[in-house]
């Protein structure tokens, strides 16, 4: 899996953009630029396609209808929050399969604490966020302490979280009713399903955007963010340079755990119930959004903006297909094609840079 034949690249013998930099400065490979902004470009293309192919009513383009746009960004906010956490993990060359299940567990616990437990809003939210974070810390610790593949550890985590959610919920939908008094949730919690600013911007989307902004800052401007890239870029080199590799790895799983819990709370608030089956398959959507966003599964490279754009792009694509009454089967195939396209583009750039596969 290692990047091979790198030594030769500075040799003028090997063609590539890096060689070009050595001789003619500032010549940049257009393909590299496309890949760097692939998800943004994709998002723009999907938006243009949306306008073209959108059904119209009374001459109005339905795709651009404020309600429709609000729907798109609302629908992607849960997987978007998860994808943001996932970006950290994937940049370290890890993976977290437990996110969807932790979302389900969090939704169930949120509902149960408020309805049967009689806990207040703040206590519930804090407890669920701590729970998700601890869940991630446990997974990260097991993975680093016993040197296990995160794929396996988080696969087990997925099963564990679903199991716990079934136990807590008794395999029932926990409905959330609002009001004052025992067995009722504080009405303010329902705001998660509403829209602000003149009934335009969904609250779930606001949560998503705030989380994305914080994550972008953490990844790009903090020491921790740099460590994340370093661990994914070359774990051994990072260790030798004094980077606390285990701490960084445990932290990124704590972040996905936190993000999943946050998404679970948003889920419960939007749909007014918690169920052990919530968030089924979200891990794959999140991974797809991250990869489309240009983050490398090999680790060491990736961006938060890309992930956000990738998330919205997937949502917008699904929306156009829905507006045109195209079957869910076709939606899956379209997503598949985009994932492959994104991966192929990245692979082409790596090869052009002479950096192996």
């Amino acid at each position: 899996m290692s990047d091979q034949k790198i030594e030769g690249t500075a040799n003028p013998a090997v063609p590539g953009p890096r060689t070009a930099t050595a001789t003619a400065k500032h010549r940049v490979d257009p393909l590299a630029i496309i890949v760097r902004f692939q998800s943004l470009i994709g998002l723009v293309l999907v938006a243009i396609g949306g306008v073209i192919f959108s059904p119209r009513r009374h001459g109005e383009i339905l795709f651009l209808d404020p309600d429709n746009i609000a729907n798109i960004v609302r629908a992607v906010s849960e997987t978007g929050i998860i994808a943001i956490g996932m970006t950290f993990v994937i940049i370290t060359a890890g993976i977290d399969l437990s996110v969807g299940a932790v979302l389900g567990l969090s939704a169930v616990v949120t509902a149960t604490m408020m309805i049967s437990g009689g806990f207040g809003l703040i206590a519930t939210i804090l407890a669920v966020l701590v729970m998700g974070t601890v869940f991630g810390v446990i997974q990260g610790t097991i993975s680093t302490r016993f040197r296990l593949e995160p794929f396996i550890v988080t696969l087990a985590g997925l099963q564990a979280a679903r199991g716990l959610a079934l136990v807590v919920s008794g395999n029932q939908y926990i409905n959330i009713s609002y009001g004052d008094g025992p067995g009722l949730a504080p009405p303010v919690f329902a705001v998660l399903g509403e829209r602000l600013f003149d009934n335009t911007v969904p609250v779930a989307t606001i949560v998503f955007i705030i989380f994305a902004a914080i994550a972008t800052l953490v990844l790009n401007t903090t020491r921790f963010g740099r460590y994340v890239y370093a661990v994914g870029g070359n774990e051994r080199a990072a260790r030798i340079s004094g980077v606390p590799v285990s701490m960084v790895k445990i932290s990124v799983y704590a972040i996905t755990g936190f993000a999943s819990a946050l998404a679970g709370i948003v889920h419960a608030g939007q749909f007014n119930f918690g169920s052990a089956n919530d968030g089924m398959g979200y891990e794959l959507t999140a991974i797809a959004a991250v990869v489309i966003g240009g983050t490398s599964l090999f680790g060491g490279a990736g961006s938060m903006v890309g992930t956000v754009a990738g998330t919205i792009m997937l949502g917008a694509l699904a929306n156009i297909l829905q507006l045109n009454n195209i079957t869910p089967a076709m939606q899956l195939l379209a997503t598949a094609a985009i994932i492959v396209l994104a991966a192929v583009l990245q692979s082409l750039v790596r090869r052009r840079e002479g950096l192996g596969r």
């Binding site: 003619a24 903090t222 740099r226």
Partner: protein, 505 residues
């Protein structure tokens, strides 16, 4: 006179605006070992790639036995009898030797089953033909680098048997392994195989080559006798006399930085093939460059990694002191706190983040310093990068390109510069110039000496004896994990070798 086995005339190869080969003539006789020397970028890799069918020449001609040939892919070159062994051996570590030798050409039983016994028998026969006793059922992962090299040669020769092209085959080998490889090369030459031998190690040339071609700037700079003086070869290589590859030694050394007295590293768990330091006594003083010599398995790398805490888990016994104070060097953190920095012998595997920019790599060991309150400071980062570029002549002078795209020499400068940024008191270097061309070597030696002059203590392990002798103030010889002899720099190579092998000089 009959035509040479292989000849190239007027070869020109361009890549975009870069002219990699500017009209190269080269020939190889049957049974000849022809050394091809050149710094990175001189064009020897391109020439090798033309011969092995990776690229086609833009102009010029390749002939075999006087007949023009064209290769559109490596398979055609193989079919014409040209076998190439690249630095990255194309072996599958998780398969056994026989399976590797027959990869893609498996022997089958009727019915589509692999005929494993037949392949093992045949593999054994081929290995024995060059007097190498490797069990064909062993996994390649369990072989030493030297043994893998031989397996790769046997594999290559099994499908192309007239011309053997070897790209720096000795780069990762120990002295003993090099000797064995040379024996095998001589045997093959005696059977009529022509060998193109590409190397950075000038000192190997007289020992193995029949003829030497030196390339520079895409041209042949000269063809010479293997016994030409090294200064002559260096002049051809770099285009100017390099009167001083090694800088002048220090006049005086300062206070003792590292002191080991009867120090042993006991492993938490025994590990075969890991020669733990056992009963080592040595000192490194400020401003001093101390070399670690020894045959492969003598424990050079193990000593350095045990000092830095990157080796296997274990505990130091005996006296280990840094700056006069006893320290427990059992983790990377402890070593770094004591002011120790370490540059591994494997810059690609554990030294660099290859796909990340040069600048990001440079600041990796000082992230703390450039991120006050946990926030990265772009200004401090730029300053650190500027400092490194000022100290080491890293080329191209662009901190934004991926470090993996740099030449070996420049990558090594990045690794060194990165550790120097952390202001260590003691620098541990393992094979500091492996795979580095002569020009860059000279620069690295000069930098190390300049750093030592500022008070840095350097402990350097190397399997290149001339490097230790030329660079170091003192050389400590290790055998079986302990120091058995000590010499001043400039000592005769045979004396050191004799001590390393446990013989009288």
């Amino acid at each position: 006179m009959s035509a040479p086995l292989l000849s190239v005339t007027g070869a020109v190869k361009r890549f975009g605006g870069v002219q990699a080969l500017r009209g190269v003539d080269f020939d190889l006789k049957a049974g000849e070992i022809h050394a091809l020397l050149g710094e990175n970028g001189a064009g020897k890799s391109t020439l090798m790639n033309l011969l092995s069918g990776v690229y086609a020449p833009d102009e010029g001609e390749i002939r075999i036995d006087g007949k023009p040939v064209t290769f559109s892919n490596p398979r055609e070159a193989q079919a014409a009898g040209i076998a190439t062994i690249f630095q990255e051996l194309d072996l599958v570590p998780s398969l056994d030797v026989a399976a590797n030798l027959f990869l893609g050409r498996e022997l089958m039983r009727p019915g589509g089953m692999l005929d494993v016994p037949a392949m093992r028998r045949e593999a054994k026969r081929r290995l024995e033909a060059i007097e190498l006793a490797i069990d064909p059922a062993r996994l390649v992962a369990d072989l030493s680098i030297g043994q893998r090299q031989v397996v790769a040669i046997v594999k290559a020769l099994s499908y192309a048997s007239r011309v053997l092209i070897m790209d720096e085959p000795t780069a990762a080998l120990t002295v003993g392994e090099v000797e064995r490889l040379f024996d095998i090369m001589r045997k093959l030459a005696a059977t009529g195989v022509g060998t193109v031998y590409i190397s950075h190690r000038l000192e190997e040339v007289p020992e193995i080559a029949d003829r030497v071609t030196v390339m520079r700037d895409g041209r042949v700079a000269g063809i010479t006798e293997p016994h030409a003086p090294q200064a002559e070869l260096v002049r051809l290589l770099v285009g100017r006399p390099l009167d001083e590859l090694y800088p002048a030694r220090a006049r005086s050394a300062g206070k003792t930085l590292l002191s080991l007295k009867d120090a042993s590293f006991r492993l938490a768990r025994e590990s075969a093939g890991w020669q733990a330091p056992s009963g080592i006594s040595l000192e490194v003083r400020e401003g001093e460059i101390v070399g670690l010599a020894g045959i492969m398995g003598a424990g050079r790398t193990e000593l350095l990694s045990a000092l830095y805490g990157t080796g296997l888990a274990g505990r130091w016994h005996g006296e280990v002191a840094v700056g006069g104070r006893p320290v427990k060097l059992e983790s990377i953190n402890a070593a770094r706190k004591a002011g120790i920095a370490f540059v591994t012998d494997d810059r690609r595997g554990s030294g660099l983040m290859l796909r990340m920019a040069v600048g990001l790599n440079l600041v990796m060991s000082v992230i703390r310093r450039i991120s006050p309150a946990g926030l990265m400071s772009p200004r401090r980062q730029a300053e650190a990068v500027k400092q490194s570029f000022g100290q080491f002549d890293i080329r191209p002078k662009n901190p934004d390109i991926a470090v993996g795209a740099l030449s070996g020499g420049n990558q090594q400068k990045v690794v060194l510069a990165k550790e120097i940024l952390g202001n260590p008191r003691l620098l541990l270097l393992d094979e500091p110039t492996r795979g580095v061309d002569v020009g860059a070597k000279g620069e690295i030696y000069a930098r190390l000496r300049a750093l030592a002059a500022q008070g840095l203590g350097i402990l350097v392990a190397s399997s290149e004896m001339p490097e230790l002798i030329g660079l170091c103030d003192r050389i400590v010889v290790l055998r079986q994990g302990r120091n058995v002899a000590e010499f001043n720099g400039g000592v005769d190579e045979h004396t050191v070798l004799a001590a390393a092998n446990g013989r009288e000089a």
